[in-house]
């Protein structure tokens, strides 16, 4: 019964745990309950869930994309360099980021399909190359700032309360739901992830679908990198690298299977919320955690989360 509920509402559990964690934080430190803290949690959650959108698609299709972090950093650097704190340069920056993202996505997709090696290794090698390129481009120091107008579209408060980043969510979330649940491609991705051979026998161009998932993933992470540049105002090399693993964990915690074929975007958003709230709790001043203790706790909690959801089938059946 409990299992059934979890399968039908994969987002329920992460949201419940997030609420409990936040409640715990507030009990330990009552001052944590304020609008600024909530706003920052919402914004970070949105960023992580945008970045994880493509990762969800790739994982459902049976792949894995480790370039999310590198693409985000590279796109943030491009955005800051092109905008150079001047308004009216959104389109050139957007164009450059999209060209780069599509190129990296194509490279990811074609290489995983053609090399036939585990996507983990292929995308990681590509992500390394992208990270090195950032250093060559910037020589290790930040190149400029995002334009003031663009920063305002991300960080200002609508009606004084709602962070304006939610406006992007109003576009990106429905887009992702459309791709995953309503479009032809979405159905094909589920089928390919479930059983590539059966999908091919049913006339689906498996390679084409897989490559497309990688391209979409890179485009999502590229755009999130732009938003990230505005959120952070400037861009450093490798500054979003942790999003590679964080997006993966958010997606897994949201009930998507590593083996492919199963998963929802709602779950991913809930998983992203959980990751952000967890980080927020661990950095609460009242808990007085030293950085090493924080690391140990983060590791333990991640293990616990994995135990809750992602255990493999027993060999003895």
């Amino acid at each position: 019964m409990g299992n059934n509920i979890m399968r039908r509402w994969p987002a329920l559990m992460p949201v419940a745990i997030s609420v409990l964690l936040y409640a715990f934080t507030v009990i330990v430190q009552p001052s944590a309950l304020n609008w600024t803290a909530v706003t920052s949690i919402v914004m970070l959650t949105l960023l992580l869930s945008f970045a994880s959108a493509g990762q969800t698609l790739v994982l459902i299709g049976g792949g894995m994309d480790f370039t999310v972090g590198a693409v985000m950093s590279a796109s943030a650097i491009l955005t800051a360099a092109i905008m150079n704190s001047q308004d009216g340069r959104f389109l050139p920056a957007f164009g450059a980021v999209m060209v780069m993202s599509v190129a990296i996505g194509l490279l990811n997709g074609v290489c995983t399909v053609k090399i036939g090696l585990p996507p983990l290794i292929v995308t990681m090698a590509i992500s390394n190359v992208v990270s090195r390129l950032q250093y060559i481009l910037t020589q290790g120091s930040p190149l400029g700032y995002a334009s003031p107008a663009f920063i305002r579209t991300v960080t200002s408060q609508l009606f004084g309360v709602v962070p304006s980043l939610t406006l992007y969510a109003l576009v990106l979330f429905p887009l992702m739901f459309y791709i995953l649940n309503r479009s032809r491609l979405g159905h094909q991705v589920y089928l390919v992830g479930n059983n590539p051979v059966a999908a091919r026998l049913n006339g689906i161009g498996v390679n084409k679908v897989v490559i497309l998932t990688y391209v979409i993933s890179a485009v999502f992470s590229g755009f999130t990198g732009m938003l990230g540049a505005a959120y952070m105002q400037s861009a450093k090399c490798q500054m979003f690298d942790e999003y590679a693993y964080n997006s993966l964990i958010a997606v897994i915690v949201g009930g998507t299977a590593l083996t492919g074929g199963v998963g929802t975007y709602t779950g991913t958003i809930a998983g992203a919320l959980l990751m952000v709230v967890l980080n927020n709790t661990l950095t609460t001043p009242a808990l007085q955690l030293t950085p090493p203790m924080r690391n140990i706790l983060l590791g333990l909690v991640m293990v616990l989360l994995l135990i809750l959801y992602n255990r493999g089938k027993a060999v003895r059946q």
Binding site: P118, I121, L297
Partner: protein, 352 residues
């Protein structure tokens, strides 16, 4: 004669280690060409290259054992640092002798491996994510034990390690030979056979009367031993302690194994890992040397380490592309062999 040579070569081409060997031979040649054979194969330079890269090579061997048994562990990097930290701190704080401290260091690596086994084989968590979570925990433990880089190793221990016996053979290579001997022995035991069965398909192995969890336990223990040796070697290279070193060994060792021709479970051999690891080391060596040489040849040419890293990562990526040609052919050969043997048996059964 030539026919036999040809036959031998075509046999070797079907060997899983062929892809890794080609890359390894290529980088040896590359190094010899750009540095000059006399200089590259000179005892002093070769000795330095071997003793500094030995820790990584041992980690790659550890990772290979896990890959053969169908799991992996990306926290091996922080585990190497754990061995280093435990060795130095027990020596410094408790006044233990270096040998005893090394024993404790290896013990720490084996305990860390057991924890990973518990998560991966007993609790059946996805190996990649479980060991990633473990990376955080072990990193925290490392810093708890040793907050900042400190400590030193007695001279009488690191000098011999970094020297060459009779000015001919690097002493450090003994550690590699020891590890390879351990593996050669283990490979001949029942465990050495079972590890392939479990790696290829735990369910089928279980049906055949093998306990997958037990085999993976043995694999993790062996991996802990190798990681412990790697940590000791690293301690002897740097002759001090540092809680944040060697963190990238985890991912890089995985890449080395895959480039060498191992896949996730049941395919490949230890030679794949060793060749793949050597490929990464030699690539970096060649790139570093040629950038230094370019700086001397062309006045005013200052290439930052950024370019060096970029070029070596490009070469590693090309190495992955290479496996498309080499490794695929081998897997094809394996498949055809299997098919033939099955067909043959069927034909025999039907009396044709």
């Amino acid at each position: 004669m030539s026919q036999r040579l040809q036959q031998g070569f075509s046999q070797f081409r079907k060997n899983p280690a062929f892809a890794g060997f080609v890359l390894f031979a290529f980088t040896i040649l590359l190094n010899a060409v750009i540095q000059g054979p006399g200089s590259f194969f000179g005892v002093r330079r070769l000795n330095t290259l071997i003793y500094t890269s030995l820790p990584f090579l041992l980690v790659v061997m550890a990772q290979s054992v896990l890959l053969l048994s169908g799991t992996m562990d990306i926290s091996v990097g922080v585990q190497v640092a754990l061995v280093n930290v435990v060795t130095i701190m027990t020596m410094q704080e408790w006044g233990l002798s270096f040998i005893l401290a090394c024993g404790l260091g290896i013990g720490a690596a084996i305990i860390a491996s057991l924890v990973c086994w518990l998560l991966v084989s007993v609790l059946r968590l996805p190996a990649l994510l479980a060991s990633f979570a473990l990376t955080y925990a072990i990193r925290g433990v490392n810093v708890l034990i040793m907050s900042v880089a400190q400590g030193k190793v007695p001279r009488e221990f690191y000098r011999p390690y970094q020297s060459a016996i009779f000015d001919m053979v690097p002493a450090s290579i003994l550690a590699l030979v020891l590890a390879l001997l351990v593996w050669a022995y283990v490979r001949r035991t029942r465990f050495g056979t079972n590890i392939y069965a479990v790696g290829a398909n735990p369910r089928n192995a279980f049906a055949a009367g093998i306990n997958p969890a037990k085999v993976q336990l043995q694999a993790f223990m062996l991996k802990g031993l190798f990681v412990g040796m790697a940590g000791i070697c690293l301690t002897l290279v740097t002759a001090s302690g540092n809680p944040t070193q060697a963190e990238d060994y985890g991912i890089r060792s995985l890449a080395a194994c895959i480039i060498g021709g191992l896949s996730f479970g049941g395919w490949g051999s230890m030679a794949c890992g060793v060749f793949g690891g050597s490929f990464l080391i030699l690539t970096q060596n060649a790139v570093e040397f040629s950038f230094r040489r370019l700086g001397v040849l062309i006045p005013g040419f200052t290439a930052s380490t950024y370019w060096q890293n970029f070029v070596s990562d490009i070469i590693i990526f090309l190495g992955l592309l290479m496996t498309m040609v080499t490794a695929k052919g081998q897997r094809e050969a394996l498949r055809i062999n299997l098919q033939n043997s099955v067909m043959f048996k069927r034909r025999a059964a039907h009396g044709k």
